[in-house]
């Protein structure tokens, strides 16, 4: 069968492969090359070595600032999203009435696109801040916490579903045995539930981290970097470097490569940590 099928490469693989090469492979390789050159269009590239990488950090403070903002954002999101979604998952695995309805409600914000999400929260947060005579653009910390609230609203339901699956997979005998041995609620939580859902905790931590790093639409809409680019995160900073001012295309591409290495690095650590525990999908 393998031989007969092998001949059908042009039918089964070629269309996908051509699109994949066009949209990903070639732009990716070109992107790496161009990060070492100076260019305005793709065809007039001039080799400059690592100058773009140096300029990404030294030309102004924007990239370093975006990097630092993104890291802080990721840390706070990971903690808040995971604690809250785990708590919700615990509440929704008690066999209470209406559990399915609650699950539906909590998950819904996850499906709304970043642009619409951003506007919803911009309007609400500015509406609240109006009473204090300020806006989200008043101080970087407003934008920061605004983004945190938005991120929690979007991701809690999603992570909650993963935690619910983890909690439901705990064998009944285990909780029963602990109860017979006289464990109280807190001991059950710290000695049974949390160790048993450790794989889910790993997945959710990394998912929140990569999502926090890659966030763009919400950042663009909610603050667009205001005030004075202090709330621009990595993806938005790269976009601005490419499209808002000319002459910085090479620097933008160098930033993109650094961004790629960061995100891919996080994903590979995750893969390494979960590979031994997870069953292949």
């Amino acid at each position: 069968m393998e031989k007969a099928l092998a001949k059908y490469f042009p039918v089964f693989v070629l269309p996908t492969l051509a699109a994949f090469a066009l949209a990903f492979v070639i732009p990716f390789l070109m992107g790496i090359y161009l990060s070492f050159t100076e260019f305005t269009t793709v065809t007039n590239a001039k080799w400059v070595g690592i100058a773009n990488y140096v300029r990404a950090f030294t030309a102004n403070k924007e990239f370093v600032n975006a990097l630092w903002f993104t890291v802080r954002f990721a840390v706070v999101s990971i903690i808040t999203v995971n604690v809250l979604s785990f708590a919700l998952a615990m509440l929704l695995t008690q066999g209470l009435k209406g559990t399915n309805v609650f699950r539906t409600v909590f998950f819904m914000p996850n499906l709304i696109g970043g642009i619409v999400l951003g506007y919803i929260w911009q309007i609400i947060l500015n509406g609240i801040l109006y009473y204090f005579d300020v806006t989200l653009a008043f101080d970087p910390s407003y934008g920061f916490w605004g983004l945190i609230i938005l991120m929690n609203w979007q991701l809690i339901g999603y992570m909650m579903i993963i935690y619910i699956a983890g909690i439901q997979n705990i064998p009944g005998e285990l909780t029963e045995a602990a109860r017979v041995d006289g464990a109280n609620r807190r001991q059950m939580l710290t000695n049974v539930t949390i160790p048993m859902v450790m794989p889910a905790i790993t997945i959710c931590t990394f998912l929140t981290m990569t999502n926090s790093f890659k966030i763009f639409d919400q950042n663009l809409v909610l603050t667009a970097g205001a005030p004075s680019k202090k709330t621009a995160m990595l993806a938005l900073d790269i976009y601005n470097t490419f499209y808002v001012r000319t002459g910085f295309e090479g620097v933008g591409q160098a930033k993109a490569v650094i961004f790629f290495i960061l995100v891919a690095g996080i994903s590979f650590i995750q893969l390494y940590l979960t590979r031994s525990r997870e069953v292949e999908q």
Binding site: A23, I203, A256, F268
Partner: protein, 282 residues
């Protein structure tokens, strides 16, 4: 003693349910607030965003009428629908074919394709954004038809990976029997393999639908103003001058959410399962 304990437990459970009700309302509040304000005049939205649209504030469907007109909503809706449906159909079909082929034909080049596709899943869009859009311009793919091909390229990584994972788990015997009985690879695929892949096809379709329907950056880079999708139209309403028709904005946001909510409520089970299965993407 026993009955007191039971009663205490029931009370505790009622309190928990009450807590969940409060949380659920809190979760819905942002959307409810936009909905309420969508019936208010623009002036009142800024100065009094938390009151109900009563008296002189109430504008009926006025915001909806002006919102639809300002961004040409049905036009944007049409393009969003066209691009999403076509791209998802193309992605599901071709990724399933590729996933089957590279799993069944064990050669070096199929391994290379597989790992290249897995690798593409961890690369953020910003890495290829600039070069890809320039490339698409040169090849005249910067229109609603060409973008389908680009979506196939970006979507094929995760989708092929998921199909391939499923093919590994199904026995090869039936396919082999069919081929021995004179069934060609194409007929074998459509008559035997594809129906078996159905659960994965649904997951892949949902994941890609949510992504493409909500995608903003890629269509912004490739499409001109005649072909706005809904996210672009929403962003366009804001305009470049800072003055923004808040009333129209509220109405447009509600109209942008409605299709998603309808889609979600009509196939909720598949969506939750599908979106979470995509967690492997990381």
């Amino acid at each position: 003693m026993e009955s007191l304990n039971v009663r205490k437990k029931t009370l505790w459970r009622q309190l928990l349910t009450l807590l969940l009700c409060v949380l659920a309302l809190l979760f819905l509040a942002p959307i409810a607030m936009i909905l309420i304000n969508s019936f208010k005049g623009s002036v009142f939205i800024t100065v009094d965003p938390f009151s109900l649209p009563t008296g002189e504030m109430f504008t009926g469907m006025g915001n909806y009428v002006s919102g639809v007109e300002k961004i040409n909503f049905w036009h944007a809706f049409g393009w969003s629908l066209f691009i999403t449906v076509c791209s998802v159909a193309v992605i599901v079909l071709f990724s399933a074919m590729t996933g089957w082929y590279i799993t069944r034909v064990k050669r070096v080049f199929t391994k290379v394709i597989y790992y290249a596709m897995v690798f593409s899943m961890v690369v953020p869009f910003q890495m290829v954004m600039f070069t890809m859009s320039k490339f698409a311009n040169v090849l005249h793919l910067d229109n609603p038809y060409g973008i389908i091909l680009i979506y196939l390229g970006f979507g094929s990584g995760l989708s092929t990976f998921m199909f391939s994972g499923f093919v590994k788990a199904i026995p090869i015997d039936i396919e082999e029997a069919a081929m021995i009985d004179g069934c060609g690879p194409i007929r074998t695929f459509f008559a035997i393999v594809f129906p078996v892949l159905r659960p994965t096809a649904i997951t892949v379709a949902i994941l890609n639908t949510m992504w493409i329907w909500n995608d903003y950056l890629l269509p912004t880079l490739l499409l001109d103003s005649r072909h706005r999708t809904i996210p672009i139209a929403v962003q366009y309403l804001k305009g470049g001058y800072g003055s923004i028709d808040m009333g129209a904005m509220m109405a447009v946001l509600i109209m942008a959410i409605i299709p998603i909510v309808v889609f979600y409520l009509s196939c909720q089970k598949h969506i939750i399962k599908g979106v979470v299965a995509g967690a492997v993407k990381g």
